[in-house]
């Protein structure tokens, strides 16, 4: 099958990694996968194509309205690819009635100018099939397709045992790993959770090592957000300073796994909206490829559904400091959970499996 992905690629956000993996695995399985558009020098590994007629299906990967192509390309796409051969992957749950969680929402009208009905009617016009990366879509006309996957070949250190991993992890303490905790992700509707996390670990800060946040707008709230009263990029520089948190700019998708491996612990946060809808992201799986102990700061249901039975040990719950202390005291136990979870993810969430699921949807 020839599959054309339609999305806007960015080096430090969104769906570039899964699309790259679908292209790679599709090729291995005898399919052809490309992204709609002219070839881009900044994504040499991503095949691009403009010849719509040469493809069997178009898959729109939509986070924001601008993921739809601009005119005239949109008109060409809609003219040349029949609706029944178009699929939308709704990565942010916009194809729902308006849902709010804290100050997060699936329809951030203040930012993108689109009202809720425009999302529903726009999606209905574009594709017969709409899927969302959650196991529990709210609408009956939406199918579940997790889209993102786990890539065992990207695991930096494939330890033979938990003991080996723990020994390595302990020996690197303060030497090989420059950070105690690192989080890679943009400050987009996540500050509430990050603030609570930092407040919880503050008593341990001297024992944890350096704490680093990498991504957009962790250093200060952008001017436009202040001007428009937008709370989704709140941050408290005083708290960051007090806890000794350093911030840095975004990291390209190809460097995320290695960077996270420079930290002993890497928390996984999802936006409040995503937690409510059970939506998953790149980082849901990517963190398990890094040489680090992931801290699953996610709802219990998401952890049980996605990561399998052993991952509960990696979820600190309400006692973040207590769990971190225990992890430092007996890392082998927790590395055992990491390795077992990796095995579970490889069995249930590999990109090869995702590709099969996608083919079933397209059929």
């Amino acid at each position: 099958m020839k599959i054309l992905f339609v999305s806007r690629l960015e080096r430090s956000a969104r769906a570039v990694r899964p699309i790259t993996k679908y292209a790679e695995i599709g090729k291995q399985l005898g399919h052809e996968v490309a992204v709609f558009g002219e070839p881009r020098a900044d994504f040499p590994s991503v095949p691009h194509a403009m010849d719509i007629h040469a493809f069997d299906v178009a898959i729109f990967v939509i986070y924001e309205a601008w993921d739809f192509p601009d005119l005239p390309h949109l008109a060409h796409l809609l003219d040349r690819m029949p609706k029944e051969r178009r699929v939308i992957i709704d990565c942010t749950g916009t194809y729902n009635e308006t849902i709010s969680a804290e100050h997060d929402s699936n329809h951030l009208k203040k930012l993108n100018g689109h009202q809720s009905w425009e999302w529903i009617e726009g999606f209905d016009a574009v594709a017969d099939k709409i899927v969302q990366p959650t196991l529990r879509p709210l609408r009956q006309d939406v199918r579940s397709f997790l889209f993102f996957g786990y890539d065992p070949s990207a695991v930096v250190r494939a330890y033979r045992s938990a003991n080996e991993a723990a020994q390595e992890w302990l020996s690197q303490n303060g030497a090989g790993k420059p950070y105690g905790i690192a989080y890679v992700g943009h400050n987009w509707e996540r500050w509430g959770q990050v603030r609570r996390f930092l407040e919880a670990i503050e008593p341990l800060k001297d024992r944890l090592g350096a704490i680093h946040l990498r991504g957009w707008a962790w250093d200060q709230r952008p001017e436009w957000a202040i001007e428009h009263g937008f709370e989704g990029v709140d941050v408290d520089p005083a708290l960051l300073k007090r806890v000794g948190v350093k911030t840095g700019e975004s990291i390209p998708f190809s460097e995320v796994i290695d960077f996270q491996g420079k930290a002993r612990f890497c928390p996984v946060f999802h936006r409040p909206l995503f937690n409510q809808l059970g939506l998953i992201t790149n980082r849901t799986f990517e963190t398990f490829c890094s040489d680090t102990i992931p801290l699953l700061m996610l709802p219990d249901r998401v952890i049980e559904d996605i990561y399998g039975p052993d991952a509960c040990h990696l979820a600190p719950g309400d006692d973040v400091a207590g769990r971190l202390e225990d992890m430092m005291r007996r890392p082998e136990f927790y590395w055992d959970a990491v390795l077992k979870t990796r095995t579970y993810l490889a069995a249930h969430h590999s990109y090869a499996r995702r590709f099969e699921e996608l083919m079933a949807i397209l059929d």
């Binding site: 309205a65 601008w66 993921d67 739809f68 192509p69 601009d70 005119l71 005239p72 949109l74 008109a75 060409h76 809609l78 609706k83 993108n112 100018g113 689109h114 009202q115 009905w117 425009e118 999302w119 009617e121 726009g122 209905d124 016009a125 574009v126 436009w224 001007e227």
Partner: protein
Amino acid sequence: MNILFVMDKRTNAGSIQAVASYVRAGDELGHTIALYGQPDPKYPGMRWSQDLGKFDHVVFICEFGIGWMSGLRMSRILTEVPRTKRAILDADGMYNPVLCIDMYDRNHRDDHGRAFWVGHCDALADKILQPTCEPLQPTVLPVPFYGYDPSLRVEPGTRPKSFDIVHVGHNWWRWREVSSSLLPAIERIRPQLDGICFVGLWWDMVPAGAREDGLEIAFEFDLVRFGRLGIQIKPAVPFTQVASAMSEGRVTIMTQRPLFRRLKLLTAKYFEIFCADTIPLVMLDPAHAESVYGPAGRELALNGNIADKLLDAVQNPHKYQDIVRDVRRHLAKHHSYHNRTQQLIEVLRA
């Protein structure tokens, strides 16, 4: 005929007043005219619809920006409305080749920007309309579009005259003419005038993003000079209050950005100013003023000796009231929204 307008609506700018007038005129003539969207209390009197299937034609009203035509928004329209049923009103002359007037006002920064714009339009529709009688390109259809709506008339004496001179309009490519022609004239006669007020956006600030977009020059202003001349600045008013705001002046001045003057593009302001209880003076070439407003319109053109004309209008209102009455009569006959609706229907049917 049923016509659906699609636009990036703003309460205090652009073509929103015209759409409201088309809705009223359509009702009177037995046509259904609406604006794409859901009811919004900020736009009283508007008819709204999202039911694309109910309309014979969809007209996109495109002004300067085109980002609002997002793929999400356009997908449904492209899918449900055949191309032959779509038209674009190019209100700001953006479909023209790149034009730069006196190294100042321009429709596009460069050919790339123009190609982007034209690409959008060509993908959407075959018919491109411009609100001018003299389009530069043979493929563009001339449609005056904006008109005179007597239902917007402000009854004489119903608004207190707070100012001798009022200017209602945003500071968008207007500063060069205002600073080089209008302000020197006002300066000459300032001691003989009472209050002066500019109503609109950006007379005291550059909007966010203008510098980054290389458009700072379009928003030049000089608060010191305004202060020295005793010119007040008031914020923009919603479209429902434009005629009322103009009526606060004994004389109201209309300026037009140089590009629009060159292209002879009509705007809503051409006609709104005659709905106000004021003496309208328009900074247009007299011949163009006459072509729109009739023979009497020539007398209301601020061209040449601006200071004397301003002072004359302020000091001898009765002399101008007859001229204004003649123009209104001309507008009611030739530029009503009944006329405009018929003209638009003819073009869409052709």
